[in-house]
Symmetry: C2
Subunit: 114 residues, 2 copies
DNA sequence: ATCATATATATGATTTTTCATATATACAAG
DNA sequence: CTTGTATATATGAAAAATCATATATATGAT
């Protein structure tokens, strides 16, 4: 992972919020991002696609939903940076978290293992 | 310092190299960046001005030269991120360091203190 | 006048956004 | 089991916005 690509991925408001939400929440699907960020579906999908292309996130498909989470095989310095950023920028996503928690009918997560 | 502004500042090749060089070298003037990055003077000046506007770097004027260094009053998480990036991306600026060290007539630094 | 640096403006390139549409799954009625 | 319809997500293409670069010019020190 080249630093310049990593920072370009983080340098957009939508992508940064998505990543920090994932760091905090673990796993989220597209419709949850739409509610939490109050943005259009194509806009969210596009930015998530970009994060995926850079291998910052991975996806898991469950029925009609696609769940995104941070790729835990990223270099340690990338994972550390994301973690450090969240710890110091909780205010930045506070409103998004509130919206997410207020969301009705959130899709249920199947257990990942047996 | 907002994370988004910090990452936008880092998300350009020229600015990232400048910052990492400063992290490693401590203090550099515009003419040294020109040699190390092999870029035009206005291009360097413009990017340094941007870093200064975001308070990532500070300047010290000495005669005809302007020396840039990382603003050590930045939030710790920013300083840590820059440090961590350099440690993991030494290759990225290796060629720039070589060019810098090969530079003739580098301006002398006055002692900063008594 | 010369050297080092900064800035204004115009142009080109890249990125982001939007709209329309496509695909894939789900679910209910016949 | 098919047909129709709704929901979730992705993507192509065009428009809009942002960002980077080059050239020319300005400032300030020696």
């Amino acid at each position: 992972m080249q630093a310049i690509d990593f920072y370009k991925a983080l340098s957009d408001d939508t992508r940064l919020r998505c990543l920090l939400l994932l760091q905090q929440q673990g796993e989220l699907c597209v419709c949850e991002f739409i509610e939490a960020l109050e943005l259009s579906q194509p806009k969210i999908s596009r930015h998530l696609a970009l994060l995926k292309k850079q291998n910052l996130v991975v996806t898991r498909k469950q029925g009609q939903w696609v769940f995104y989470s941070i790729n835990n095989e990223l270099p340690l310095w990338c994972l550390s940076t994301i973690k450090l950023t969240l710890e110091n920028q909780l205010d930045y996503i506070q409103n998004n978290v509130t919206l997410l928690e207020a969301m009705g009918d959130r899709p249920s997560r199947k257990q990942l293992c047996c």
